[in-house]
Amino acid sequence: MISAPPPVASSGPHPAPAASDTARPKIEAIDLSAWYGTTHVLRNVSLSVPANTVLAIIGPSGCGKSTFVRCLNRMHELVPGARQSGQLRIDGEDLLSRKVDPVDLRRRVGMVFQRPNPFPTLSIFDNVIAGFKLNGIRGDHAAVVEKSLRRAALWDEVKDRLHASALSLSGGQQQRLCIARALAIEPEVLLMDEPASALDPIATAKIEELIHELKQVLTVVIVTHNMQQAARASDRTAFFYMGELIEHGDTEQIFTNPREPRTEDYVTGKFG
C-alpha cells in the first residue's frame, strides 16, 4: 500500500480502479472498540483484509489481538459483560447489526483455537463432520470428511483409523483435526488464534504450510506471538499495542521498513 507507487498512478483522479476492485476488502473493521465490563480492550480499530489473503496480527500479550478476532465471529459477546461498538463488515455486510444471527455468522467464519479442542468423546470422523451435521447440510459425509482432512493435510495420517478416538492423535494432529472440522462447513473466513502456540516446530511448520494453501479458497486471520511465523505465513501484518492498532500493511514492509518506532521496537525484539 505504502510501497513504491505504480508508475501510472498519477495519471488520473481515480488511481487504478481495477486494482481496488480486485482488492475489495473481505473483512473491514471501522472504528471497532470492545470492552470486558469497564475494561476497554480494543480502541477504535480500523482495518481491512482483502479476500484470499492472510492477515497476521502481532503484538504483546493483552494488546487486544485475540479480542479482535473474537469480534469477527462474535464469540467476544459470549463473555458476560463483554460488548463492542463500531462497524465490522464481511463483504460489506455489517456483522454487528441486530439482523445478523451470530449462529449463522459462525458458519461463515470458522475458528481454530490456541489449544487443540477436539470433542474427546467423538471419533476422528465424527469430529470432522460435527459442524456439518449441526448445520443440517445434506451431503456425502464420507466425502466431506475426506476432503476436509485432505485440506487440513491430515488424511494420510488418519485414513486407516477414522473411527478411533480424536484423543488418540498427537497435539499437532489434533490441531489439524480442528482445522479440518472448521473447514468441513466451508467457511469464507478462517480465524486462527495462536494455532501453533501449543505445538512443536514440525507441527508448526505443517500448519504454516497449510495456511498458504488455505488462502486459495478463503481468507485467513491469524493471531500469533511468533514473529517469524507472521513473516513466513502472512501477506499482511497488523501490529496491536495496548488495544490500539499501531500499524498495518504488507508483511514485508512491517518487518523491513515499519513506519512506527513502536512497531520497529516490537518486531526487532526490543520489547514484548
Binding site: N73, L78, R107, T121, R161, I185
Partner: protein
C-alpha cells in the same frame, strides 16, 4: 577409603543429595508412622464392612438354613406365624419406588444443573443453590410427614384420578386412587434425591472446559446444540455417577417411604396400589420379631438390600465404562 569407593559409584551431585534425606533422624520414623496410620484407616473400612456383613449373615443363618434361597428370593408370602418368609414383594417395592424416583428426578436434576451452569446469570445461581441445600437438609421423617398430610391427599383426590382418566389404558395407572402407594413413595423419594443429584451434576458440568463449548459454538452451534454436542458428552460419566448416588439413597431410604407406601406386601403393576419396601419391613417388624426365624428373615432382607445396592452400583460402573470409551470401541 570408603569415601573414594562411594565417589566412584555415585556421581558427585547425588552423593551430596543422599545424606540429606536421612539427615534428620525423626523423619523416616514419622513417615512410617504416617503410612501405618493411613493403612489402618484404609483397613478399618474393610473391617467395618466385613463385620456388618458377617454378623448380618450370622443372624440370618437360621432362616437361610431352613429355607431354600430361591424360595426366599421368589416367595411372595410373608407369614411370621407360620414361619414362611418370601422377600419378593419387598424387593419389588424397593426397586419400583427407587426406579420411579430416578425417572422423575434424573431429568429434573440434569435440567436444573444445565440451567445453573449453562444458562443462568451468576446472580441467579445462589438463588437456585440455596433451596437445594435446604432440601438436602430436611430430615426424612419430615418428608414422610409432608408426604402423608399433603402429597397423599393430593394424589388421591387430584393426580391419580387425572392419570386414570388420561393414561388409564396403561396397566401402570389402573385401579382405585388410594394415595398411599408406589407413586407417593416414588415421588417423595424423587424430591429427596433431587438435591444430591443436582449438586453433583452442577459440579461435574463446571469441570467441562470452556474450550469445549467454544469449539461447538464456533462451528455455528446454538446454545442448546453446544450443550448436546460438547457439554453433555464430556460430562456424561460424572452425571451417571450423580444418578447412581441418588439411586443408592433411594434404595436405602426407610422412614419417608414407610410413611407413604401403604405397607401392604403385594405386587401390583399399578403405581396407585400400596406396596412395601425392604427397609420399611425391617423398620416395622424388628421390634416385635420373636424367634430366631423371624429375626433371621429380617437380617436376610438386610443382606438382600445390600446385594441390591451393590448390583445397581456394579451395573452403573459397567455403564460408565461402556459410555466413556465410545469411539475406541467402534474402532476395535
Amino acid at each position: 577409603m570408603s569415601t573414594s569407593a562411594e565417589s566412584a559409584v555415585a556421581p558427585p551431585v547425588l552423593r551430596e543429595a543422599l545424606p540429606q534425606t536421612g539427615g534428620v533422624p525423626g523423619r523416616r520414623v514419622a513417615d512410617r508412622l504416617w503410612s501405618a496410620l493411613l493403612i489402618a484407616f484404609g483397613g478399618a473400612i474393610l473391617v467395618v464392612a466385613g463385620v456388618i456383613v458377617f454378623s448380618l449373615g450370622h443372624v440370618a443363618s437360621p432362616l437361610l438354613r431352613a429355607t431354600h434361597l430361591i424360595d426366599f428370593l421368589l416367595g411372595t408370602v410373608w407369614d411370621p406365624e407360620r414361619e414362611r418368609f418370601g422377600a419378593l414383594t419387598y424387593l419389588y417395592g424397593t426397586v419400583v419406588t427407587s426406579l420411579l424416583a430416578l425417572v422423575i428426578a434424573a431429568p429434573v436434576s440434569i435440567g436444573l444443573a444445565l440451567f445453573v451452569t449453562e444458562m443462568s446469570p451468576p446472580s441467579l445461581r445462589s438463588i437456585v443453590s440455596f433451596p437445594l441445600e435446604l432440601l438436602a437438609g430436611i430430615p426424612s421423617v419430615v418428608y414422610g410427614l409432608w408426604g402423608l398430610f399433603v402429597l397423599v391427599p393430593l394424589l388421591r383426590e387430584t393426580v391419580e384420578p387425572f392419570l386414570a382418566r388420561t393414561l388409564g389404558f396403561l396397566p401402570l395407572f389402573k385401579g382405585p386412587p388410594i394415595g398411599l402407594g408406589f407413586l407417593a413413595a416414588g415421588m417423595i423419594l424423587a424430591v429427596m434425591i433431587l438435591p444430591t443429584m443436582t449438586s453433583i451434576s452442577i459440579e461435574v458440568l463446571k469441570t467441562v472446559p470452556g474450550a469445549q463449548r467454544e469449539a461447538a459454538l464456533a462451528l455455528g452451534a446454538t446454545p442448546w446444540e453446544a450443550t448436546r454436542l460438547a457439554v453433555l458428552p464430556y460430562a456424561r460419566a460424572g452425571i451417571l455417577g450423580a444418578i447412581i448416588l441418588g439411586l443408592g439413597r433411594a434404595l436405602g431410604e426407610t422412614m419417608a417411604v414407610t410413611m407413604v407406601i401403604g405397607n401392604t406386601p403385594r405386587i401390583s403393576a399399578s403405581l396407585f396400589a400400596p406396596g412395601y419396601s425392604l427397609p420399611s419391613v425391617i423398620a416395622n417388624e424388628f421390634a416385635e420379631a420373636s424367634g430366631a426365624m423371624h429375626t433371621g428373615a429380617l437380617a436376610a432382607l438386610g443382606l438382600l438390600l445390600f446385594v441390591v445396592t451393590l448390583t445397581f452400583n456394579s451395573i452403573a460402573r459397567l455403564l460408565v465404562r461402556v459410555v466413556t470409551r465410545g469411539p475406541e470401541r467402534s474402532a476395535a
